[in-house]
Subunit: 365 residues, 2 copies
C-alpha cells in the first residue's frame, strides 16, 4: 500500500462523504467533487474536514473540495464515483476530456453493467487504457448531516472486480489493501453487478408498501417493510437472479447469503429472507422514503431489474417476478426507462451467449 | 311480476342474507341454504327472520332455513347462488341430481365465465335446459351480524345476462322487475363477466398495501388503500380489460365509468380513479382485511384476473399489468391456481376467436 496514492471522490451524498472522509482519516490525499456547490458548503465551512462517528471515527481533512471536475481529478490516481447509477455516464462524459491514461476509475457501487457502460463511453471517445473497477454494493451503511457522517455499519465481503481483468493498477491495489477486511475479489464485473442485494429489495419494499409511502406515513423501511409475504416475493425474484448466475457459471449467492456475508455480525436468524432482515440490527431505524418515486425505483429498476430481465432473455431464463415489479412500476410512474436502462440491447450486447457475455465482461471487447 | 315466484338463496354470508331477507320483505317465498349450520343458527333463533336496516329496512321471514340442498330447492323457481366464486361449481354439483327443468339459476355475482362453467357442468351430466343468469356485481353493499343485515348502499346499473340468450324465464323476469331500479340488461355473459369492478381493485389494493395488511395494521380499505400511484396501476390494468372488451365488440365501461354507474349518488369527483374512489361515500369505513390471503386474492385472481389474461392471449391483447399482479400473487402465496382458474384453457374454449367466443356466450354451444 502506497500512502502517497491520491483519490478523487465524486458525489457528496452520504456515501461520498463517508468515502472521502475515511480515506482522509487514513492519511490519504483526497479531493471531493460534486455537481452542486450546496452540498459542499458544510465541508468547506468545516475547514474541508469531514467528521466520522459510529463504526468508524475520526476527522479527515480533504485537500480539495470543488465543483470543478478537471481540478478534482488532476493528478489523482483513483477516481471513485459514488453517485447514483444514472450519474455514472454523466460524470464519465464530464471527466473524459481531462482523464489521463494512468488514472483508474472505481464505481462505488456499480449496479448492473456499470463498468461496461463506462468503458463503452470511454472507448467511443478513443480512450481505451483506463482500468475501471466496481464494487457490488456500498462498503458503508451511513447517514450524513452537514460535515458529520454517522457510520451505522461497515459491510463485509463486498465484491470488487475490474474491467478489463488481469491488469494491475497500483491505486486499486491500494484501495483493496485499505478495505481488505471488507471487500472480496470477484472474477468479473458480471459478478459485482449480479451479486448486489439492493435492487433485489428496494422496488419490492416500495411497491408492496406503496399505500403507506404514498400517504406519507413513515415506517421502519426494512424491519417493517419486509413482511413474510413480501419476503416470499423477494425470494422468488431472487431465484430468478441466481438462476441467471448459474447459467453464466458464476457464483450464485442468494439474497440471504449476501445479507449474511455483508452483515455477519448483525444477522442472527436466516432461515428465510424475512427472518434474516428482521434480525439484521444494521437495518434498525432506517426510515421509509417520504415519497414513492425515490432512487429505490428510478435507480433500481433501470440499473438493476431491467438489465437482469434482459440477461434472462439472452440466456433463456424466465424472470416473471422481475418482469412483474417492472410492469407495476411502469404503470405506477408512467415511465418505461427503455432508453436509459442498462439493458443488453442498449449496450449493444444482444446476440452474445453465456460464454460471449463472460468474455466481454473480462475484456470489454 | 308474479308474487308467487319462489326463491332459494344459497350462501348465508353478508350478501346471501341481504338477498334472502330483501326478497322475504317483499313478500316472496324464500328458502335459505348454507353448507355450514353455524351461520344459519342466528336466523333460526330469530324465528327464521332476517332484519334489514340502512338503505333498505324491514323484517323478512324465510319459509325454510336449511343445510339440505334438496329441500332448499324443491319447488323453487329461481336458485340464487351468492357464494364466493369457487362455490359455484361445488353448489352446482351438489344440486345437480335434484334440479328440475323449469328451475333457473342466478349467480349473484358471477365473476368471469361463471354461467359458462356452470352450464358446462350441467351439460356434462346431461342437463341442457336450465337457464343460467348472472349479475356483474353485487346489488347490495352490506354487512351482516347474526340475523341483522345493514345495507350501506344499493348499487345501480348492475348488469344481468343469461346463458343461453333469447330464452324467457318467468322467475328471472320477476327478479328483474323486483330490482328494475338497480339492474341493467347486458347482451351476454361476456359482458357481465368483463364489466365487474371488484377483481380490478382488490388484488392491487391488497398487494400494494401488503406490508400493512401483513402487519395487521387496519386501514380504510378503499379510501386509504387506493392512493394516486395505486390508482395509476389499477387504471393501467383497466385499460387492458377495456381493450379486450373493444376487441370483442362489447360495451367497454372503464373502472371509473363502472363506479359512476354503480354509485351515481355517492361518487362526486371522477377525473381519476383515485378521485372517484376517494369521493365515494359508500366506501367510507370499509375495513381492510386482517390477513393478506383473503377472497380478494383467492377469488379475484383465479376467477377474475386469470380468465382475463387468458382472453387477452386468445385475442392477442397484451395484459402485462394483469400478468404482473398475477405473478406477484403467485410468488407471495406459492399458488398458481392453474387447475382451478376459469381460464379459456380450463373451459375448453381455446381456439375460438372473438366471434366464436361471443357465439359461445350466447348459446353455450
Amino acid at each position: 500500500m502506497r500512502k502517497n496514492t491520491t483519490f478523487a471522490v465524486f458525489g457528496a451524498g452520504n456515501l461520498g462523504l463517508a468515502q472521502a472522509g475515511h480515506l482522509a482519516v487514513q492519511g490519504f490525499g483526497v479531493s471531493l467533487c460534486n455537481r452542486s456547490a450546496k452540498r459542499l458548503q458544510p465541508i468547506i465551512q468545516n475547514d474541508n474536514r469531514i467528521e466520522l462517528s459510529g463504526s468508524l471515527s475520526g476527522s479527515g481533512r480533504l485537500q480539495l473540495v470543488t465543483t470543478n471536475y478537471a481540478e478534482a481529478i488532476a493528478g489523482r490516481d483513483l477516481i471513485i464515483i459514488t453517485s447514483a447509477a444514472p450519474g455514472h455516464r454523466v460524470i464519465t462524459r464530464d471527466i473524459l476530456p481531462v482523464l489521463r491514461p494512468n488514472q483508474a476509475l472505481l464505481l462505488h457501487p456499480a449496479y448492473m453493467f456499470g463498468a461496461i457502460e463506462v468503458r463503452q463511453l470511454l472507448a467511443d471517445s478513443g480512450v481505451q487504457d483506463i482500468l475501471i473497477g466496481e464494487l457490488s454494493n456500498t462498503v458503508f451503511a451511513c447517514r450524513a448531516n452537514g460535515a458529520q457522517v454517522h457510520i451505522f455499519a461497515i459491510k463485509k465481503n463486498i465484491g470488487i472486480a475490474y474491467l478489463p481483468t488481469g491488469v494491475d493498477n497500483r491505486a486499486i491495489e491500494t484501495f483493496k489493501i485499505i478495505y481488505r477486511d471488507y471487500i472480496e475479489c470477484y472474477d468479473t464485473v458480471l459478478e459485482t453487478g449480479l451479486l448486489d442485494l439492493n435492487y433485489m429489495l428496494h422496488p419490492f419494499i416500495n411497491m408492496m408498501n406503496a399505500g403507506l409511502i404514498d400517504r406519507m406515513e413513515p415506517f421502519d423501511y426494512y424491519h417493517c417493510g419486509v413482511t413474510p409475504h413480501i419476503s416470499n416475493v423477494i425470494e422468488a425474484a431472487d431465484r430468478e437472479r441466481t438462476a441467471i448466475c448459474h447459467a453464466l457459471g458464476i457464483r450464485g449467492y442468494s439474497a440471504i447469503d449476501l445479507m449474511k456475508r455483508h452483515y455477519p455480525h448483525q444477522v442472527e436468524k436466516s432461515t428465510s429472507f424475512y427472518e434474516a432482515t428482521a434480525s439484521n440490527v444494521a437495518y434498525k431505524g432506517i426510515a421509509s422514503p417520504d415519497h414513492l418515486y425515490t432512487r429505490n425505483i428510478w435507480e433500481d429498476i433501470p440499473y438493476g431489474i431491467m438489465p437482469i430481465i434482459s440477461l434472462g432473455k439472452a440466456l433463456e431464463i424466465e424472470t416473471p417476478v422481475m418482469q412483474a415489479i417492472y410492469e407495476l412500476c411502469r404503470a405506477a410512474f408512467g415511465n418505461d426507462w427503455r432508453e436509459e436502462a442498462r439493458t443488453l440491447d442498449n449496450l449493444g450486447l444482444i446476440g452474445l451467449d453465456a460464454a460471449g457475455l463472460l468474455r466481454y465482461a473480462q475484456t470489454g471487447l
